[in-house]
């Protein structure tokens, strides 16, 4: 019974560890904005902690670089389960604009299993709060793959024998 209560409380108080593995710090500043009074995210019980051993969620920002890949993996393994990983920003979701440079391995999901993606460059603080709300189940996902098709139609071929306006024969 206590176990169920503890599981329910997981969503009410998420402790967050912020790990920037080589990004440009744009998303860092947006994450910092989310903790300010204007967009206050502490009203959901979310707190920034300094040690991965205390944290439930790792906010990954920046692509996985060659130099920081092992450090990122060690920080992920230091977190006690149950744990989540959020990939914030285009760099963490898919490698970003820098996906083919010499030092970038790729998106963060090449190293860690990612639970939620929050794309944007950088994502607005409201977008980050929306991502957290989707993870907590407070909001619905608004995005789905779109596939559209142009209709095919028959194109009449031009034969030299057809009478053409204004030409002879």
């Amino acid at each position: 019974m206590l176990k169920n209560l503890c599981k329910k409380m997981f969503g009410r108080s998420l402790w967050v560890y912020h790990a920037n593995s080589g990004g440009c710090n744009g998303c860092d500043i947006e994450v910092l904005n989310v903790l300010t009074p204007y967009y206050d995210v502490e009203r959901f019980g979310i707190k920034l902690v300094g040690s991965p051993r205390h944290a439930d969620v790792m906010l990954c920002q920046g692509p996985a670089m060659r130099s920081t890949a092992t450090a990122l993996l060690r920080a992920y393994e230091a977190m006690p389960s149950p744990k989540l990983v959020f990939a914030i920003g285009s760099c963490a979701c898919g490698g970003g604009i820098w996906h083919d440079t010499y030092s970038v391995i790729g998106p963060v999901e090449k190293i860690l299993p990612v639970s939620y993606y929050i794309p944007g460059c950088p994502p607005r603080p409201e977008a980050i709060i929306y991502g957290v709300a989707v993870a907590l189940g407070l909001a619905e996902k608004k995005i789905a793959p779109v596939s559209s098709k142009q209709p095919e139609y028959e194109i009449p071929m031009y034969h030299p024998g057809d009478p053409v306006k204004g030409s002879k024969g």
């Binding site: 502490e42 009203r43 019980g45 300094g50 205390h54 006690p80």
Partner: protein, 308 residues
């Protein structure tokens, strides 16, 4: 005979149970007041309960240099804090009143600080070692302050018994209690340091990014440490109120108990206001501050010896 035993036991239990259940609530009040001063909507008042319950449900990773000492530090810390809670009257008389005297209280208060040191030592990482070295410096300066306050009370009350000393003893007897007033000012100035809040929470959460001695704890052990720190807030507030402003002459029973808890909330509010408007001190600034207070406190003991 049976009735009085039951009544005594239930009074004692009511004493402690109230304190233990309300400790996270006081922390919640502090966080909410901090949020209001920072012009934002803060966490709900019951947030520390959710935090503790969530931490209890997480996996427990044993890491660091010596897992045995890690475990021992956690359990000893909780045990010490609960024992102190049994020794202090909180509105009603303390359940373990006759188990010891004032000296036991002083040693237990010091021991609860040592448990954090042991926890940091068990982790063995650089951050925790820096944290515990700073905590040691603060403890050297701070524990004598509380000891001096209690001794001033003991000198005035001419006894070392717990229920006499913890009963407004600094104001007892002849003349205007100069030493009592001096001790009151000193204790109010250093209250923030005892309860480990800004501006003096130098060891824990200071390397605010790394949490100092608690860096390697996770899950249930972290929950116990956080809970011990919350109960310390209540214990020190109760000690302050019992020694300096009990003021319960002539008020009947349930009202007196509620008045006590009202005073505790006022102290918690004061601590929250000071914590929200100040920055954290450096270790050398804090040591200088406490050295000054200690000198004045020793002068107050001398005055108490002379009967002032």
């Amino acid at each position: 005979m049976n009735d009085s035993v039951i009544i005594t036991i239930s009074i004692g239990l009511a004493n402690i149970v109230m304190a233990l259940l309300l400790a996270p609530f006081c922390q919640g009040v502090m966080r909410k007041v901090t949020a209001i001063i920072q012009s934002r909507k803060g966490p709900p008042l019951w947030q520390p309960y959710y935090d503790l319950l969530k931490l209890l449900g997480k996996e427990d990773i044993e890491s660091g240099d010596s897992p045995v000492m890690q475990r021992a530090a956690v359990y000893m810390s909780l045990a010490t804090v609960l024992t102190i809670a049994c020794l202090i009257p909180m509105g009603l008389s303390a359940p373990m009143n006759s188990a010891g005297d004032v000296m036991l209280l002083i040693y237990l208060l010091t021991f609860s600080g040592i448990c954090t040191l042991l926890g940091g030592l068990a982790a063995g990482s650089t951050y925790s070692l820096i944290g515990i070295s700073r905590q040691m410096m603060i403890m050297i300066m701070l524990e004598p302050l509380f000891t001096v306050a209690i001794i001033v009370g003991a000198v005035h009350a001419q006894s070392f018994r717990l229920d006499t000393v913890l009963d407004g003893s600094v104001y007892m007897n002849r003349g205007f209690p100069w030493s009592g007033v001096i001790m009151l000012v000193i204790m109010l100035l250093s209250f923030q340091a005892f309860v480990e809040r800004v501006p003096f929470d130098i060891s824990e959460a200071e390397t605010e990014l790394m949490e100092g001695p608690l860096i390697e704890y996770s899950g249930p052990k972290l929950a116990v440490f956080k809970y011990a720190s919350m109960v310390k807030l209540i214990i020190y507030s109760a000690l302050l109120i019992d020694i300096f402003f009990p003021w319960h002459g002539g008020i009947s029973m349930p009202l007196q108990w509620m008045l006590f808890w009202l005073k505790i909330f006022c102290l918690v509010l004061l601590a929250a206001l000071v914590a929200a408007t100040h920055a954290r001190y450096r270790i050398d600034q804090a040591v200088r501050f406490f050295a000054l207070l200690l000198a004045v406190g020793l002068a107050a003991v001398v005055l108490a010896g002379f009967g002032y």
